[in-house]
C-alpha cells in the first residue's frame, strides 16, 4: 500500500511517498539517499543499521517507516554535519578502530548515544553498549579504545 510518510531526519523535514512495508532503513537509504546507514542482517541482530530515534539507538531494519511519525531521526550523516568529524569518528580514525568499515556507521551512532548519556564510560560499559553492533572483522579492542579516547576528547 502506498503511503505518505512525513518525517524529520537530521533536522530536515521530508514528505515522501513510500510503501507501508518500507522499513525505516529502506526509507533512509532508498527514498532519502542517506546511504551512510548500512544493511547487514536485516533482522535486528547486527546493528549495522543503528540510527537514533528521539535519541534512542534502534535497528532501522526492524522499524517501519510508518511508525516514525513526528520523531526525530539522526543518522550517521547527521552526526558529522558539514563533514566535521564527531570525536568518536576522529578517535576511530586515530586508533584504527575500523577494518572493512561496514559496521562503523552503526558503531559511531551507538557510541555517540552512549557518550550523550555517560560522559566517561568504563571499558565494560562501552562493551555492553556496543554489544548489539557486530564487527565481523573482529576488531573490537581498537573500537573500545577509540570510544574511551573519544570520551576524554574536549567536546564543543
Amino acid at each position: 500500500m502506498k503511503t505518505v510518510i512525513a518525517c524529520t531526519v537530521n533536522g530536515d523535514a521530508h514528505e515522501v511517498l513510500a510503501d507501508s512495508r518500507d522499513t525505516l532503513l529502506e526509507l533512509l537509504r532508498d527514498r532519502l539517499g542517506l546511504t551512510g546507514t548500512k544493511e547487514g542482517c536485516s533482522n535486528g541482530n547486527c546493528g549495522a543499521c543503528t540510527v537514533l530515534v528521539d535519541g534512542e539507538p534502534v535497528n532501522a531494519c526492524i522499524v517501519l517507516a510508518a511508525e516514525i511519525g513526528d520523531a526525530e531521526v539522526v543518522t550517521v550523516e547527521g552526526i558529522a554535519p558539514g563533514g566535521k568529524l564527531h570525536p568518536v569518528q576522529q578517535a576511530l580514525v586515530e586508533h584504527g578502530g575500523t577494518q572493512c568499515g561496514f559496521c562503523t556507521p552503526g558503531i559511531v551512532v551507538a557510541a555517540k548515544a552512549l557518550l550523550d548519556r555517560v560522559a566517561r564510560p568504563s571499558a565494560q560499559e562501552i562493551r555492553h553498549a556496543l554489544a548489539g553492533n557486530l564487527c565481523r572483522c573482529t576488531g573490537y579492542d581498537k573500537i573500545v579504545e577509540a570510544v574511551a579516547a573519544a570520551s576524554l576528547a574536549p567536546r564543543s
Binding site: S20, G44, G69, N133
Partner: protein, 292 residues
C-alpha cells in the same frame, strides 16, 4: 514482506476494535513481529501500531507502591523511570537482558509476553513478582495471571479484538525481594538456555511467608516451580534449603533437548539457577547465602 495495511489508533478501544479484523496483529516495538513478518513466519494483513495510544505506553506507580504500565511501554522507558528502576529492579534487569540496547529501545514487556516464547526473559521475572495482565476487548476488561495468558510457544489466551492493555505488578514490601538469573553462552545478544526468576517475602521471624519461582526455556511456556515454592514455606533460608529448592525446581521443569541444550543439561541448570535466584533475593534482604 507480504503487503499489509498500517493503522495507528489513539485509544485503547479503537486499537482493540482494529484487532478484531482477521489477520490483524498488534505492533509494539516490532522487534519480534517485523522479523517474523519479514521471514514469512507470521501472516499479517493488518498491523495495528499501539504506540500512539497514551494508555498503552503509560507508566504509573500508584500511591500504594504498585506499578501499572502499558503493554507497549519500551524496556528503555521503564528502565529510565527512576521509581520503577529503584522499586522493581528484577524486572528491569530481566528487560535489560533482552537483545541489545537497540532492541531494548523499542521492545516492550507486553510484546515479550504476547510473543509467548518459552525463553522470554521478562516473563519469569514478572511471574515471580506476581504480575497480572489486564486485557481489554469487546467483552470489557479482564485480568489474567501471566501463566493463564501464555498457552504455548507463540500462543496466548487473547481472543480476536482483545488486547493486552497493561501489566500490573504488586507493590514491593520491605521484607520482599525478587531476582532473575539466566544462563547463556554469551552474556549479551543471546537467548536463555534456562532462566529462573524468584520472589520471596519473609515473615517477621525471618522465615519464608511467600515464595514464587518461575522458570524459562524448560517447557512450552514459562513455568512455576510449585514443589520448590511449597518446600520453602515457613522455613528460614539456609544454603541447604535453597539447594533443596533447586533440586525440586529441577523436578518441576519439563525441558526438551534442542540446539541450545539437552533436557538433562537444562535440569542441571535449573537446580543451580533457581538456588542462585533465591540466594539473590536473600542477599537483597540482608542475608548472604553461598550457593554453588
Amino acid at each position: 514482506m507480504k503487503d499489509f495495511t498500517y493503522a495507528a489508533p489513539t485509544t485503547t478501544d479503537e486499537a482493540a476494535a482494529a484487532l478484531a479484523a482477521s489477520g490483524a496483529r498488534a505492533l509494539a516495538g516490532g522487534t519480534d513481529l517485523i522479523v517474523q513478518m519479514r521471514e514469512g513466519r507470521r501472516a499479517v494483513g493488518h498491523v495495528v501500531d499501539l504506540k500512539r495510544v497514551p494508555e498503552l505506553t503509560a507508566i504509573a506507580v500508584a500511591a500504594d507502591g504498585s506499578l501499572r504500565f502499558g503493554a507497549a511501554a519500551s524496556v528503555a522507558a521503564l528502565a529510565a523511570h527512576a521509581t520503577v528502576a529503584a522499586k522493581f529492579p528484577a524486572m528491569i534487569e530481566a528487560g535489560r537482558m533482552i537483545g541489545s540496547w537497540q532492541i531494548q529501545s523499542r521492545a516492550s514487556l507486553g510484546g515479550n509476553i504476547c510473543n509467548a516464547s518459552p525463553s522470554a526473559d521478562a516473563v519469569p521475572a514478572l511471574m515471580a513478582l506476581g504480575a497480572t495482565a489486564e486485557l481489554t476487548g469487546k467483552g470489557g476488561r479482564r485480568s489474567l495471571a501471566l501463566d493463564a495468558l501464555i498457552l504455548g510457544p507463540g500462543k496466548t489466551a487473547l481472543v480476536p479484538g482483545e488486547i493486552l492493555a497493561a501489566i500490573r505488578v504488586p507493590a514491593p514490601d520491605a521484607r520482599s525481594a525478587a531476582k532473575y538469573v539466566r544462563f547463556t553462552p554469551r552474556r549479551e545478544m543471546d537467548i536463555a538456555v534456562v532462566g529462573a526468576g524468584a520472589w520471596l517475602r519473609l515473615a517477621e521471624d525471618g522465615s519464608v511467608a511467600e515464595a514464587r519461582i518461575a522458570l524459562a526455556a524448560v517447557g512450552p511456556t514459562p513455568l512455576r516451580a510449585t514443589a520448590a515454592e511449597k518446600r520453602l514455606m515457613g522455613e528460614k533460608p539456609t544454603a541447604a534449603l535453597l539447594a533443596e529448592a533447586g533440586r525440586l525446581a529441577a523436578a518441576d521443569a519439563r525441558p526438551i533437548s534442542d540446539t541450545r541444550g539437552s533436557a538433562d543439561y537444562r535440569r542441571a541448570l535449573v537446580k543451580v539457577l533457581a538456588a542462585r535466584a533465591l540466594a539473590g533475593c536473600c542477599a537483597q534482604l540482608g542475608q548472604r547465602i553461598e550457593v554453588p
